[in-house]
């Protein structure tokens, strides 16, 4: 339960930061949520708790009072990231990286610009690696590694 509460706090903070200009580097925003979901997917396999994380962030990130396609794409992408991490057959870090890159690609799809996508992907990959290292140090170090579902 503690892991879930920590995850929820991190997701809420990341979502609030995501809608500020603080993350802008050279006019490009990294996607903290994509990186966070790609890492937190290893922590909790319960889909109800995952859904709470996804909808908490979606509620904060919503840029209009009503529902738009961007919101639906974001929620679907978040669930897809969790599923990719679960079902990809590679090592855990590689799964997270692949899920993070795929999530970035889907969210960039409506206005695809190669240079922007490449830079955002690079930032997100670095974030995934940093989050993964933190996860290994603070949480997974105390547990035995779980095998991949394949």
């Amino acid at each position: 339960m503690l892991a879930f509460i920590v995850s929820l706090v991190l997701v809420i903070l990341a979502s609030l930061l995501q809608i500020t200009n603080f993350l802008l580097i050279g006019g490009i925003k990294s996607n903290l949520l994509v990186a966070l979901f790609a890492t937190l997917a290893h922590l909790d396999k319960n889909w109800i708790r995952r859904a709470i994380l996804v909808f908490s962030s979606a509620f904060i990130l919503k840029f209009t009072p009503y529902l738009t396609w961007v919101d639906l794409i974001y929620v679907s992408t978040a669930f897809f990231i969790f599923a990719l991490v679960d079902y990809l057959p590679w090592k855990r870090l590689v799964n997270s990286l692949a899920a993070g890159i795929t999530g970035t690609l889907i969210l960039s799809f409506s206005f695809f610009h190669l240079k922007t996508f490449a830079l955002e992907t690079l930032m997100n990959v670095i974030l995934v690696i940093v989050f993964f290292v933190f996860l290994e140090i603070f949480y997974e170090g105390k547990k035995t590694a779980k095998k991949n579902r394949f």
């Binding site: 200009n21 050279g26 979606a58 509620f59 990130l61 974001y74 929620v75 610009h113």
Partner: protein, 222 residues
Amino acid sequence: MRKYVSIGALVILGVLFVWNGFVFEKKLSVSSFLGNLVDIDSIDVAELKTRIGTLEKENERLKAELLGEGDDAINSIKVYSSHPFNSRSEIAIAAGGDKGISVGDTAVYAGTVLVGRVKSVFESSSIVTTIFDPSWEMAVRIGNAEVDALLKGGNELKIYLIPHDTLIEEGDAVVSADKSFPYGLELGYVKQIGNTEGDVFKEAVLEPVLQLKNIRNVGIYR
């Protein structure tokens, strides 16, 4: 029991996700507060100098308005937050229908720098599409020769359709010349010119005056 609590929380979040009109503006102000909190140490001296410059400019303009030379503008509206993803460049501002803002109004920074156009208006907040949005297009004029061209938005602002036989130089000022906006709003300077022999038109890269990262307040021209 824990399972039912989780499902209950999920249902509430689902409802908030579909419709969050009643907490929308409060949510934006919380993120604005957090943004200011984390950003306070990242401001360097150069940025502060730029800010002082723009504030001095704004001060002059406000003085002029107080003396009766003002126009139909709303000044100093707080910027709440910006769109979370790179696929769009939009900002939420703390004024809406209650201040008479309507869709299509022009958002400016320091009175003379074009920020963008109001896209949607709510009771006490509005969404502004900025010049950095990938879908942004507008007519501009370059330099003292007032050469007509087309500006396209995105992470890197580009100017297209510059007639090949016209003389423009790096550093030339670029201003708005679109019928949707007041004429002559500042956009930036020509940074780099792409010249291809034999082409009818040439292209250029714009160095924008506006830095979204530093923007805290905007004004609205109606």
